[in-house]
Amino acid sequence: MAVEATRHRSVHPTVVTAGRRRSGQRPNIVGAVGGFVWLAIIIVPLYYIVITSLRSQQGFYATNALAPPTDPTLANYQLVLQNEFLRYLANSVVVAGGTVVIAVAVSLMAAYAIVRGTGRAVRLVFAVFLLGLAIPLQATIVPIYYMITRIHMYDTLAALILPGVAFAIPLTVLILVNFLRDVPAELFESMRLDGAGNWRMLWSLALPLARPAVITVAVYDALNAWNGFLFPLILTQSPDNRVLPLALWSFQGQFTVNIPTVLAAVVLSTLPILALYIVGRRYLVTGLTAGFGR
């Protein structure tokens, strides 16, 4: 990962030299011990979730919580899958996909205008978006509930996408603006001299150049939409429109005494995003940090 990170961030000249720094020094024992202590703190709950999800009900009551299961079983996973899990998965895909496509498209347009524009209006718009970073989502939920019910969108997946897009926009615009600012203005100017309009420059210059940043914000927005809980809790009701985090919560109510099954649902709900992470890791990690800068 470290190597990939350096390659991607080579736009920042100082990064490249940092690699050699620690060579020739004594090993960092305190750091290593602390690092492994935190690793244990991270791993123990994850280990507990996975092994418990493989236990039978009887095994769960009988054995030591940290011992590996004597008779591992996939029955819990089967039970979860039989309980409409795939529908919740599909709902989550629709909500996350819809949110990401809309949020990234409108944010890229806005970021292009902000970077290329010079007027006072543009700066004001950017300031408004930055202000959005400070608005706690929870503070707006009562009016959003009010609006969504009035426009008869309560208990639809679209009701989750629209506010989701709104709250994804500030950070998405910020990261894209930071990235597009590094594109030399001459590139745009020469395209303009060739007669290209704004749409062309956005589509065939800004978008290809900003690809790493676009992928980064897409993954980040997808992660947020995928894991969102409050909007689904308040804006949907029927199992037909249930998304994964909410499904976990209702599984918990449904299988109160069957902890292994609930934990199997937890594992299943994490797997798709884990797969996405494995594919897009370097963009997510480098992009997240580049977005906030030093």
Binding site: M1, A2, V11, A18, G19, R20, R21, R22, N28, G31, G35, W38, V44, P45, L46, Y48, A65, L66, M109, A110, I114, T118, V122, V125, F129, L131, L133, A134, I135, P136, Q138, A139, T140, I141, V142, P143, Y146, L162, P163, N178, G195, N198, W199, L223, F229, L230, L233, L244, P245, L246, W249, I259, L263, V266, T270, V285, L288, F292, G293, R294
Partner: protein
């Protein structure tokens, strides 16, 4: 859609209309609700019928309610203690993982895992792990406690779970920050005979000041929004001992059907978020930081 070339050339930039779609979404679902919530805080509404004007009744009710005071106190406590726990841990882990050995890269990947889980999943996992009968308490006698059932402990469990979820993110920020520190600084310090601790105190820490500000801002403003995790993990209980402000608003509005009062609490929440981030921005010069990045 596009303006004639002459006009565009004179203005020297693309049309402002490109910001309209994003602005529309943001205005309708963030700015307008922020204004509407203030109005709703002056109305009586059960969530179903038509809101009716009621003046400052909700406000006097909310402000004189000891539960609100308790919720504000708990929110401040979560904010401060989370910051005190997460900042040193992620600062040290970030500095440590900024090294290039392969095993550190593997560690960094493992550290990242909690970020991928939803708060609901994390809360359910912790609930099971901390179960006094079937969880770690039974496996490790040293941890034998009813963690979530104790009013004195539950808030610290919440803070621990929050740290578990978010330390990886802040570790990542610090790791990136450390990697941007010029190697020459460390080389010359090593020649002068400065040890690792001195290098950390006199080079790493001062060089990371902007990262510390960014991370702290995100942490402090973010701590107003820890709703999902607490909702699923404790539901605010036992009693009101983990009923933080966001949860207090949800319970008031959507469990007790008092949207007016919930709106008043939401206004407090929004004001706290805005004051906090504007204050931090002023104090620390977030804009300076951004322009520094532009130059990088």
């Amino acid at each position: 859609m596009t303006a004639p070339p002459r006009v565009r050339a004179r203005h020297g930039g693309p049309t402002i209309w490109f910001t309209v779609p994003a602005l529309a979404f943001f205005t309708v679902f963030a700015i307008v609700p922020l204004a509407v919530v203030v109005v709703l805080s002056l109305m009586r509404w059960d969530g179903l019928g038509t809101p009716a004007w009621t003046g400052l009744t909700n406000w006097t009710g909310v402000l004189s309610d000891p539960v609100t005071g308790n919720a504000i106190w708990l929110t401040v406590k979560v904010m401060v203690v989370s910051w005190l726990v997460q900042t040193p841990v992620s600062l040290l882990l970030g500095t440590f993982t900024a090294g290039r050995q392969r095993y550190r890269a593997v560690l960094a990947v493992l550290y990242f895992l909690p970020l991928l889980m939803s708060a609901a999943a994390i809360a359910i996992a912790f609930k099971a792990v901390l179960d006094p009968n079937f969880g770690l308490s039974k496996a490790i006698p040293l941890l034998g406690q009813d963690w979530l059932g104790s009013p004195d402990l539950v808030l610290y469990v919440v803070i621990f779970a929050i740290a578990w979820q978010f330390v990886p993110f802040h570790t990542l920020l610090y790791q990136a920050g450390v990697r941007q520190i010029p190697a020459a600084l460390y080389e010359s310090a090593a020649i002068d005979g400065a040890g690792r601790v001195n290098q950390f105190l006199h080079i790493t820490l001062p060089q990371l000041r902007y990262t510390i500000v960014t991370s702290s801002t995100l942490m402090l403003v973010g701590s107003l929004t820890y709703f999902d995790l607490v909702f699923v993990l404790t539901g605010g209980g036992p009693g009101d001992s983990s009923r933080i402000l966001a949860l207090h608003m949800y319970i008031t509005g959507f469990a007790s059907n008092d949207m007016g009062r919930a709106s008043a609490i939401a206004v407090i929440l929004a004001a706290a978020g805005l004051v906090l981030s504007l204050g931090l921005t002023r104090l620390s010069g977030f804009s300076r930081m951004r322009s520094q990045q532009e130059g990088a």
